[in-house]
């Protein structure tokens, strides 16, 4: 019998080579793998070492944190003048909005933040309801709060300003309620009556506790930047959905008009659209209808972002499998039902990352409304730069640094959110 030598126990495991493990191994692998890589590492370290300490010194160590005017900031070795930002933060946030009325802005911004958080929070309950509030009730209430004028002419309310509406509104609304009740049964009647009651309650409350009117020429700062961006999104999303549907429509005239609108807007810079809104829009309407100074760029921004939004939504519509369309048609749904119940709910969820991305672009683009004379955040910083009480060598850089941090936090946060949603969506669709 031949003898066979077979090892019964495995050899003890060897530790990995020193050069492949631990911090040193990592460094060898990722920083000094080749001569070129080593040289690049050294150059990068040199670059960082020459930039970061200066930046830290400017922004923190040598920075002037408090002071009543720009005296301390004019010292030759002084860094960032945060005292200036502290002194101007009210202006940067609200513009010339009267100090006593700023709670209204805060209320609108907080409500908006809560609503947006609700809509964007993954798996939150009732997101659709939140979206409904954000796109319908919220703009109306915000308009009332910010301008201080009621959402409808006061003449529409009992005891409001006298006018033809005061006489006809009440019986007219009752008739409307009756028709709704007739059309939709008892529930319609109840809803219509409740609506009328709420309407009148708002009117009465307004008459009693009416707000001071604040003209749009007093609006400014971060608040206007956020406002322009939100209005852009509130109006561009529905408009974009319509345009996307129109672009995929079977009706040649509708399709042609949508394509022309979308490609025209996407082919020209936003600035020219703002110029158009500012100079041409007042010419296109009768003189007594000439739109408000703030409204003009808002219209421009809304149309501009609608075209981009339409392309995002179209991507979502195209990503819905054909079987969904066919299934809906096989169920006997008509076009509106198919879109509303089957296609759009899926398509819109699918393009949430795209919507957020175009919102980031929109938010950055709001800085351009300054060309139309709107006092957005950047414009506020730009004008305060030359305030003689503060003007100094570091004021410009301080202001821009502050603005950069603000925009960066917003845009970076949103882009991270969109990436997270993308991952969730793609993992949900993987098999």
């Amino acid at each position: 019998m031949a003898q066979v030598y077979v090892r019964q126990t495995p050899l003890p495991q060897q530790p990995p080579p020193v050069s492949e493990q631990g911090a040193l191994g990592w460094m060898r692998e990722n920083l000094f793998a080749t001569p070129v890589s080593s040289a690049l590492t050294l150059l990068a370290i040199l670059l960082i070492a020459s930039v970061i300490p200066d930046l830290v010194r400017f922004a923190f160590i040598d920075a002037v944190w408090s002071g009543q005017d720009g005296k301390a900031c004019k010292a030759p070795e002084a860094g960032a003048c945060w005292a200036y930002v502290r002194a101007k933060i009210g202006f940067f946030t609200y513009g010339l909005y009267p100090e006593a009325e700023r709670w209204r802005v805060n209320l609108v911004l907080t409500a908006g933040a809560v609503l947006v958080g609700w809509i964007l929070w993954p798996d939150a309950r009732g997101r659709a309801f939140g979206a409904l509030l954000f796109f319908t009730l919220y703009p109306v209430v915000s308009f009332g709060l910010l301008t201080g004028s009621p959402p409808f002419p006061l003449g529409w309310f009992p005891g409001g300003a006298p006018g033809p509406f005061a006489v006809w509104a009440f019986p007219g609304l009752l008739v409307v309620a009756g028709i709704l009740g007739f059309a939709f049964g008892q529930r319609g009647l109840v809803w219509a009556l409740a609506g009328i009651l709420v309407w009148y309650a708002i009117g009465l409350a307004w008459r009693e506790f009416g707000l001071v009117k604040v003209g749009t020429h007093n609006w400014g700062g971060i608040f206007v930047s956020l406002l322009v961006a939100s209005i852009g999104i509130v109006f561009s999303l529905p408009l974009g959905v319509l345009l996307a549907l129109g672009r995929r429509s079977e009706m040649p005239v509708v399709r042609f008009c949508s394509v022309v609108f979308i490609e025209f807007i996407r082919g020209v810079p936003l600035i020219t659209i703002l110029f158009m809104a500012n100079f041409m829009l007042p010419l296109f309407v009768p003189q007594e209808w000439s739109p408000d100074r703030l409204l003009r760029p808002l219209i421009g921004v809304a149309l501009f972002s609608a075209a981009y939004m339409a392309e995002v939504v179209r991507g979502g519509l195209q990503a819905i499998p054909k079987g969904q369309y066919e299934g809906a048609m096989a169920m006997g749904l008509n076009w509106r039902q198919m879109m509303q119940l089957i296609v759009l709910p899926q398509a819109l969820v699918l393009v949430i990352p795209g919507i957020v991305n175009s919102f980031i672009a929109l938010f950055k683009d709001t800085t351009l409304v300054a060309i139309a004379g709107v006092f957005d955040f950047l414009k506020a910083i730009e004008t305060q730069r030359e305030d003689p009480a503060w003007a100094g060598p570091t004021i410009s850089t301080t202001g821009y640094l502050f603005a950069a941090v603000f925009y960066f936090i917003f845009c970076f946060g949103m882009s991270r959110y969109s990436m997270m949603m993308e991952n969730r969506l793609s993992s949900g669709r993987k098999h």
Binding site: N30, T41, L42, E250, M280, F284, A403
Partner: protein, 488 residues
């Protein structure tokens, strides 16, 4: 038609109208409802158009605004500081339009050039195996992409370029005195490289433990340091600048101050060509033609015989070497108009205005961040199996990139890249905020304010941008079609 696969469909193309709405099966009864809605839409648009036109006519007549294009031939009466074509205050508004258009095109072309270089560099750096380089590139992209372009423009213009010293205290460029690396640095650098390579070689043997670690880490490190010492030897930018200095001496520069940087701009030497230069240009053109012929021939030869030549190197040499020789032989027929301090300002030379510089800087750096992401996505879109297969064939990393990865990545990169070029061109209209006389600033700004012809001016401005966009998208569709043919 073959199945295109999902990757092709997701490609983001500009304005390719591919709205193949899923049509229901034919044989449907005629859609009267569709006809009704379309008629309604037509009627609404016609009515809106009619209202707009009549209102605009009434409003413009009421405000004495011209309703025709006669302003085009009217005298402009304003000056523009940066012009490529001859222009003065007695020129027409039409001439001003041309000045604005050329300025827009110049800054857009320069921006596209620099943004492409920076963007490809940063995009490739983000995929680097070197951790710190990849992180730096990522930081660049996130920082630039997440702040508004306008903020960046204002920063470059107001916080950087306008804060430079006055002309009398201009920064002279290059600031470091020029010198070759000293003998000691030279020896040390070369020594470090040699030592590094010895260590790398040594580590290939089965040395164990700490020795191996030392050898494998310190080898590349030493060689890298050596290379840096050679390149940046004596002073910052010493070595390449030294070569430049020798050249400068040849064409008659004396001092080391070629350029100045101050709050009125960037002053560079302006080349003045003597008559002998014509010969050089001719030889350069001939060399270029020869290089192209050689390049094509070498490609054919490789296909036939499988033998490779260093095509790019030889083509470059063919282009420039004869021209350089003729340049040398005809006694360097080029002089330089150097900027010189005069009074409170600088005179002569070639002045790059801070407005242009800031716009170029802002546009290129901002767009480069987006291009970097496109490049990264394009390279990542090439399946890893391609790289591995190329490696298995024995190609080096360089060749894998050049021959396998980049050609496939380009197909994914080019459509969104064109989109970015268009964005850059459209974004150049932000020039109006820092006063660079581009199309919008000159025409939609000054001319509009002077003539009041808002409708005409804005329509013309928009038409120009629209024409650029449409021309690009037509070109893009052609490119896509060509690429699709190559696809198997």
């Amino acid at each position: 038609m073959q199945d295109k696969g999902p990757g092709r469909e997701q490609q983001h193309c500009i304005m390719t109208v591919q709205d193949s709405a899923e049509l229901p099966p034919s044989g449907k009864p005629f859609n009267w409802r569709g006809l009704f809605w379309q008629c309604l839409l037509m009627a609404a648009i016609l009515w809106l158009g009619y209202e707009a036109v009549t209102n605009a006519r009434d409003n413009m007549q009421a405000r004495n605004i011209p309703t025709d294009f006669s302003f085009w031939f009217g005298t402009s009466g304003f000056d523009i500081n940066q012009t490529l074509i001859s222009y003065s205050a007695v020129s027409t508004h039409g001439r001003a339009f041309l000045v604005g258009l050329t300025n827009t095109l110049v800054v857009a072309a320069a921006g596209v050039f620099f943004a492409t270089i920076i963007g490809f560099g940063v995009g490739i750096a983000r995929l680097s195996h070197n951790w710190i380089v990849a992180k730096l590139a990522a930081a660049y992209v996130e920082l630039l992409r997440n702040t508004p372009l306008l903020l960046q423009l204002l920063f470059w213009y107001n916080a950087v370029l306008k804060q430079l010293p006055h002309p009398r205290r201009s920064l002279a460029l290059p600031s470091a005195s020029l010198q070759m690396p000293g003998a000691a640095t030279l020896v040390a650098g070369l020594g470090a490289i040699v030592a590094g390579y010895v260590l790398i070689r040594f580590s290939r043997r089965d040395a164990g433990g700490i020795w191996q670690l030392l050898a494998r880490t310190c080898g590349p490190l030493l060689a890298g340091v050596g290379a840096l010492m050679l390149i940046f030897g004596g002073t910052l930018a010493g070595f390449p600048a030294a070569a430049g200095d020798a050249f400068a001496g040849m064409i008659g520069f004396s001092s080391g101050q070629y350029g100045f940087l101050n709050n009125r701009g960037f002053y560079l030497p302006y080349p003045v060509f003597a008559g002998g230069m014509n010969r050089v240009w001719l030889v350069l053109a001939l060399g270029f033609a020869a290089a192209i012929i050689f390049y094509l021939w070498a490609g054919r030869r490789q296909l036939r015989t499988g033998q490779q030549l260093p095509r790019a190197g030889i083509a470059l040499a063919l282009t420039f070497a004869p021209a350089a020789l003729v340049f040398w032989l005809s006694g360097a027929p080029v002089g330089f108009d150097l900027p010189k301090p005069r009074g409170f300002n600088l005179a002569g030379g070639w002045r790059i205005y801070p407005e242009f510089f800031a716009l170029l800087l802002g546009l290129s750096l901002y767009t480069a961040a987006f291009i970097a992401e496109i490049v990264r996505a394009g390279i990542l879109a090439v399946p890893k199996g391609q790289t591995e297969a190329a490696g298995a064939l024995g190609l080096r990393r360089q060749s894998i990139l050049k021959l396998v990865v980049i050609p496939q990545a380009m197909r994914v990169i080019v459509p969104p890249l064109t989109n970015q070029y268009l964005n850059l061109t459209k974004n150049s209209s932000l020039a109006v905020f820092i006063g660079y006389p581009d199309l919008v600033q000159v025409f939609a700004g000054t001319v509009l304010n002077q003539t009041g012809a808002a409708v005409q001016v804005i329509a013309i401005t928009m038409a120009v941008y629209l024409a650029i966009s449409l021309a690009t998208s037509v070109g893009m569709n052609l490119y896509n079609r060509r690429m699709a043919l190559v696809e198997r």
